[in-house]
């Protein structure tokens, strides 16, 4: 039986200010961005980025306040992150600075604006 790489769970918490540096280091080390997603936790939103190399995952997690959530976009490092960042913008209301392909809130055609934001989600779109 080979090693169960699917059971390896590296989840590292970082400050929002360290995001770009951490992601650049992972890109330099040959990691591929697998996914990014947000989770409402109390009055905050937790953002998780999953990176993959040699069939093992390395996850980076950070937290932002739900009232006016803002993060640096990682599209300058991983251009295809625009898919995940536009999704988090439309569903959670997170603003991504320097997002390379910004759909301006029209990526998902949702009936309610930012429906999954714990503070101000669910208003008319």
């Amino acid at each position: 039986m080979s090693e169960r790489k699917d059971l390896i769970q590296e989840i590292v918490s970082i400050d929002a200010g360290a995001l770009l540096g951490t992601v650049q280091d992972l890109k330099t080390a040959g990691y591929r961005l697998g996914q990014a997603c947000a989770t409402p936790v109390g009055d905050d939103i937790e953002v998780l980025y999953s990176f993959e190399k040699d069939f093992a995952l390395h996850n980076v997690k950070l937290s932002v306040g739900a009232t006016a959530p803002e993060l640096q976009s990682i599209t300058a490092i991983y251009p295809y992150a625009f898919i995940y960042e536009n999704e988090m913008h439309d569903l959670f209301g997170i603003t991504f600075k320097n997002l390379s392909l910004d759909y301006g809130g029209k990526f998902f055609k949702v009936a309610k604006s930012t429906p999954w934001n714990p503070k101000f989600g669910g208003g008319e779109n």
Partner: protein, 360 residues
């Protein structure tokens, strides 16, 4: 500079069973830029985690897609089992692997039919879907369902399949090989088919990596990211290597899927020969997921992510599904640049887009 025109492609289009929209910037019949737009039918299934207890969420998650529904159910169970640190009985892992590989055969045959329909070869479309019916019949006999089975549960599977029945299934699949070869030879050797696929929409290995491509889209460019190699299910006990092609064009992506149909039959035959006796599930009582876990599956269209986060309650805080089509959209946009307008349908089809998955 020639005049530029923007042609809207979709969300309703003859080659699109589901809605995706592309704004194609055209110059002299060549696409110079493509801007994708999705989200027309976003269902918010992940949000239902707030209203369904975690054992029930498997029914929701397998409805993410009607083609790879079993794989989504398994992916959800896998992330919860990782969260709860539950070890699944080996027989259940083998049964899951068999159903999952049957799903791959069914999905790839469905895709071959859609591709044939896309370039107007209707008899080829009908033969692809006729062969697919055999797989759906096996699903119905072993699970009771043809599309949504609800046979996977956290801790194992709900139904056993007798060894005699498994050997019968392996025999049926082996008997399909001749007809499958006859069918797939047309896709790979027919001149009119090759004219539409060879050299069209080339994605290099480096581009596939840089754009985060997954599944047959990546493997058609020689990029090996087949998640079945990460050690889950019965795969560590099986002898196989990912199907890789180097050319990166529509033909290479088609060839990968054709090879994977036969590979899946091989894997099922190996599973039937090696499946151990024993329990098909472990009972989980009095425990709720309290941590977080990121799991992955190799769906027929490629890598899918399943993230779960719990707080020790019966309702999870979050379930997240990242589907393969989501990851392949940037690669599609890249390959569209520079292609002929007439080839756009082939390019869209050869990433095997599943918008239902993407709009989970």
């Amino acid at each position: 500079m020639a005049k530029r025109t923007i042609i809207p492609f979709g969300p309703q289009h003859p080659v699109l069973p589901e809605p995706i929209h592309l704004d194609l910037v055209i110059e002299d019949e060549k696409v110079v830029e493509a801007i994708p737009s999705i989200g027309f039918i976003h269902r918010g299934l992940e949000k239902l985690v707030e209203k369904n207890e975690w054992p029930e969420m498997v029914y929701v998650i397998e409805r993410v897609c009607g083609i790879c529904s079993f794989g989504h159910g398994w992916g959800y169970c896998k992330t919860i089992e990782g969260n709860l640190e539950v070890e699944v009985p080996p027989r259940a892992e083998y049964l899951r692997t068999i159903w999952h590989e049957l799903g791959r055969i069914h999905s790839h045959l469905l895709w071959l039919g859609l591709l044939a329909d896309g370039f107007g070869f209707e008899s080829l479309f009908m033969h692809s879907w006729r062969l697919r019916e055999t797989v759906l019949d096996i699903f119905e006999e072993t699970t009771g369902g043809r599309v949504i089975f609800s046979v996977c549960k956290v801790g194992g599977v709900r139904k056993d399949v007798p060894d005699e029945k498994l050997r019968e299934i392996a025999g049926i699949l082996n008997g399909m090989r001749a007809e499958l070869s006859e069918l797939t030879d047309v896709f790979l050797d027919d001149l009119s088919v090759k004219n539409r696929l060879v050299g069209v929409g080339v994605l290099s290995k480096q581009e596939a990596f840089d754009l985060g491509a997954v599944g047959p889209t990546a493997r058609g460019s020689g990029l090996n990211n087949d998640v079945r190699l990460d050690g889950h299910g019965a795969y560590p006990d099986l002898d196989f290597a990912p199907c890789l092609e180097e050319d990166g064009d529509c033909y290479a992506r088609c060839k990968v899927r054709v090879r994977e149909i036969f590979q899946s039959i091989d894997l099922i035959e190996q599973c039937v020969a090696k499946i151990p006796a024993g329990d098909i599930a472990v009972e989980i009582k009095g425990k709720h997921p309290a941590g977080e876990f990121v799991g992955r599956m190799e769906q027929p269209r490629g890598e899918a992510f399943y993230y779960s986060k719990g707080s020790g309650q019966k309702f999870l805080e979050r379930i997240r599904v990242r589907t393969p089509t989501n990851a392949n959209i940037p690669a599609l946009v890249q390959t569209l640049q520079g292609c002929d307008l007439a080839d756009v349908p082939m390019l869209v089809l050869t990433i095997d887009p599943c918008i239902s998955c993407t709009e989970r």
